[in-house]
Structure formats: C-alpha cells, structure tokens
Symmetry: C2
Subunit: 339 residues, 2 copies
Amino acid sequence: MRVRRRVTLLDVARAAGVSRTTASYVLNGRTEMRISADAHERVRRAADRLGYRPNRNALSLRTATSMTFGMVTDFVSSGQASSQMISGASLACLDSGHLLLIGETEGDPLVERRLIEEMIDRQVDGILYATLVSSQVQVPAPLAGCRTVLLNCRDRDGETASVMPDDFGGGRAAARVLLDAGHRDRVFVVGEEITPGGLSGAARLSGVRTELSAAGAEVADVVACEWAVVPAYESVSKWLSTGVRPTALVCLNDRVAMGTYQAIGEFGLDVPADVSVVSFDASELAGWLRPTLTSVEVPYAHLGGQAVHALMRPEPLRPGVRAVAMPVRRGGSVRPGVM
Amino acid sequence: MRVRRRVTLLDVARAAGVSRTTASYVLNGRTEMRISADAHERVRRAADRLGYRPNRNALSLRTATSMTFGMVTDFVSSGQASSQMISGASLACLDSGHLLLIGETEGDPLVERRLIEEMIDRQVDGILYATLVSSQVQVPAPLAGCRTVLLNCRDRDGETASVMPDDFGGGRAAARVLLDAGHRDRVFVVGEEITPGGLSGAARLSGVRTELSAAGAEVADVVACEWAVVPAYESVSKWLSTGVRPTALVCLNDRVAMGTYQAIGEFGLDVPADVSVVSFDASELAGWLRPTLTSVEVPYAHLGGQAVHALMRPEPLRPGVRAVAMPVRRGGSVRPGVM
DNA sequence: ATCACATGCTGAAGCGAATCAGCAACGATC
DNA sequence: GATCGTTGCTGATTCGCTTCAGCATGTGAT
C-alpha cells in the first residue's frame, strides 16, 4: 500500500471548490472576510470528510509560534517531585492545545545547553527550567531572550520569573499543627542538612522557628542528618540513646520521618502517644507509615501548572518568585489537640 | 531594545558572500556538491559568528521529519515507573538530537486521542504509547499509520511493536534466589491480585511456579491482596493469625513487601532468620526497609530507551513483544544460602 | 579553433500554511 | 448611464529551508 500523503489545506480547498485562501479563512473562523454560508458549509464538510488536520510546523513557520513549551529538568526519574511537576505542566498545556517537550539533563551543563538549544530550534513558545530540589540557580546562557519560568528554583537576583513552594509558610503551618495540639516544650526538628543541597530545609526550619516564637515557644534543638531514610534512622537512634525524650518532632521531609519512625519504634516510644511527628512532602510514604504521617504537602503538580499558566499569559513575565502555598495533610502522627 | 530576529541561513550566506544553496551544502556537509575550501571556511565562520541555528520546523516542512518523538502515558505522576520510562526515553533521544514530546492522558480516551493528534500535527517521527501498569491495550485509532512502539503494554494480536519487562523470567529469577538459599517448602506468594489490573502479577507468579517445579518444589499457597502497603499488611496479618508459618515469601511487588514486613514484625517473626522475602520492582522502598529487600528490578528506564531505539532504527518496526530482562537486586531479606 | 569535461557555484521551486491586496459582479444612488 | 459601495471571493507573497537543474569559467585533448 502506498503511503498516503497527509491531507493539506489545498486538498480541502479543491474538494470544496474554493481557493486555499477561502478554506483557510473558514477553518480559522475569520469572519471579517465575508464568506457565503454555502462556501462555509462546503469547506467544513470537505475538511471533515478528508480528516484534515493543519500541519503545526508549517503553521509555526508563518506565525512564529509553535504551541509548544519546553521543560528542562535535571532529574526526572528520582522521586515524585519531577514527575508531578511534569504531570501538572502537561495537564495545564492540554486545555490550550499546547504540548510539552521535555529533556533531562542529569545535571550536566553541556547536556542542558544542548537540550535548550534543541528546544529553541523547534521554536518553543517558552521554557520551564526546573530542578528536582528547590534551589538557587544560574540561568543558563542560551535561555537569554527566551521566555523562561524557573520551576522549583530561583536565580540569584530575582530577575527571572519563578514559581516555588512556600516552604517558609509550610514551616509555619507545621509548627501551628503542633501548637494546636498543645505542644510547647521539647519540640525538636530533625533533618537539618549537613551539606545543604537546597533551599527548602532552611526555609522550613525558619518557618517553624517563626511560628513557635510568635506563640512564645521555641525549637528545643535541631538534629542534623541527610534527607534519606537510613541516615535519619541512624542519627535519630544515636540522638535518642543520649537520653533525650522529645514530645514532638518536626521532620524536614517524609524520608527523614520514616527513618525517625524506625528509630522511635526501637526505643519503645509510641507515635503519637509519646511523640507527635509532623513532616514535609506528603508523599506516598506518608500514607504507608503507621500511623500515617501528618505532612505538609509540596504541591508539585500545582507548581508545574502555575508555571505553564505564567508562560501562556500574553503579557511579559514579571520577574521574581511566586510562592505557592503548601497545604497540611492530616495523618495520625500528631496527638489530639489539648483544649 | 528591539527583539532581534533569529539568524537565518540567508543571513549566513550573505555574511559569507555566497548563495543560500552553498551555505546549506556547507552546513549540512554535503560534499558531493564541490565547494571550494575557501567558501567552506567563510560559511563556517559566518555561521559561528552569527550564532546560526537552523529552524527545525522549517526543516521539518521540507524533509517531512521533525527529529521529535511523542510519548503518551496514562499516568506520569504516580510512582517511579512512568518517570523512569520518560527518563530512559529522553536520554536515548539525546545522542541523536531527537527530543521528546510528552502527554499525560489520565486514562481518558478523549484526551488520549487529542494528544496523539496534536503530536502527529507536529510531525513526530514516531510515538511511544506507554502505560503505568503492564497491560494489554487496544491501540488507539489515531495511531494507525503512525510509527508506534508500545511501552510496558502490548496489543491483543501482537501486531504492534512492543517493549515489555520479562516478568515471567523475573518470576523465575525470584524463585531461583529462594531455591539457592535452600528454600523448598513453605514458600508462599503474596499479592495475587483481587482485581487483576495488569499482566505482571500473573506472569511473575507463573515464573515462580515454573522455576520451583523445575526444581521439584512448589508454591505452598498464594495470599491475595491489592498491590498497596496497607491492604498487604492487613491481608498478611489476617493470614498469619490463622497460624500459618511460612519460611519464604515472594511478594509480587515492593509495596506488598512493605506491608508484609509490617505484619511479619507484629507476629514477632524475623526477616530473614525466620522468613526470607523476595520481591519485585527494586524501588527506593527496597532500600529503605530494614533489612533491605532482595527485589527483582523492573528496568523501566531501559524499557524507555529500548523503545526509543526501536523508533529510531530506519527499518520498519517488527511486530511483537520484545521482553527485557529483569535483574535481581540483592538485599538482606533472604537467609544466606545452604550448601 | 573546437569540443568535452570538470570545477564551483547560483536560481528557483516547493514544503503547508496565513494574509494582504485586489478584483469581478451586482445593486443602489444621483 | 456613470459612480459608488457591498458582497464574495482569489492570486501572490512570505516564513526558512533543501535540492534539482543549470550555468559560467577554466583546462586539456583533438
């Protein structure tokens, strides 16, 4: 069987007995051009019958717009963050007929450069530059002159539009949960980063401190550890073996909370009877643990969606960070409130 | 500042003092056209100096190829599978200068249809049709006539090229691990699906059975439960409370294994001293649990890469399933082998 | 001097669409 | 009956690129 050529506008025009121009006007709903109802009808029918679909690349050549956005990420496969951002971005594109080009750099600046150039070569209408962990970045040179939104990151001078989670607000929310449950003393924070990789840890901690001190309480101490299950388990075990007995713990993410659970369990302490635990991320993990975790969600999908919406708006992007609220997801890890 | 127009081939040609044709031949390395070394040099310099980059969409118009693949998935945000497939596909695209368009359907056939059409409108050179859970699918109508590779799924008649994990082989590998550790009796399987959503469960179970019977052993019984932590915990708890005492468990995925761990722990049994556990997925979870899980990996990234490579090859796609091996990832959940 | 051939380039067409400018045909107006 | 305005279209150009066909010029053979 011969490969059948795609149906073009000319085919439709011929089938309808009109010129390409007329067909174009009809199919684009350009009413200012006075086309008879009859011609209108004939073109529509022909397009339908032939299954006409416009060639977006040809269109892009004329209109200098491709209805396509690019998304560059350092890591997509690790964890939920990237994939949820992709998901949110992809879904936000859908309504408006945009599509999303994606590229994973694995943190390699050369790959990053190549991907961005390839995207610009395809005339993308804008680029999402995303990082797995919330961080401060140097906007890559090839992005200069390209409509760009930073996603889960920001640049040093705040010159580029950026969408980030409000970790500070999230920290305050976490502290509020504990305060509402009557916790005022022996509230500890677990997960201060040894080698800070991102911005979220410090912001969350700062939020917790702010909210507690506004209520006249304070963070009793901070336990440092990597944001991973095993290191958290080890750090908390060691720490508990010094005899400290917390009544409430703020774990700076869910993996830290999981390690903390394991350590707490081994010391015969019960969550939430002996220790309340609040965490961040509200990942699947939060639902798997027993009791389920009360965790402050990072709305990654929403971030992705917001970033795409920013790209889609006609006006110029306004510089600076747009902070997205982090809602508290209630689990069973905080003792019931004291009235 | 005026928006500066992109540099076109004509700009380069003018700067080099040659025709567009000559510039094109030089930049595309078309040696059969006899260009003097001098002109060659001038064009190269001009292109470099002006920072020329070809407009891929214009190019696609001429060559009917876009150096872009599409990837349609039902769910990208849930779990690691999709994101790893995306990652593998994206990376495989990189070397050859391809880029990946992605779209998430959320299982909606209408959205699926729209996404596929949008991709075809952008002249993609091929489409990856992926599903989160390994399953049998009906290839969507708009894909007819489009170079398509099914990813983590297959069609009923095997008429479409497909890349899938070798779950049967994985099942055999899991059983082999237990056999090598001397397990022959009281080997149970946990996670037979109540409402089978995918193909992998049955294939894994069948692999386990095959390998065991080849060694003269057999599966003592199968515990049914959903593939999620809490249901697995509940099912295994109930099951253990009937007094059964397994010596080895094959959990059909890591989340089932996690729930199983919780149940086992509550019954005072030790992994691996009392019970060996082997699982599937080799997700992050496998490393978080204590002891770490021995788990048969589903090489999602590799699947994605393979699928892209299939799309890239010049020859026609050959129908049928390409099964990708699932390697065993050793953890500490299986008792040391008995010689 | 003529022809053949290689060398080194260029002009123009065409890919599929949008869109500006123009142009017949027709009725109404003065 | 000449002018005007409206209606309903179409031709030609353009976007950036590839590529076929052709065309000067120089060189060696006859």
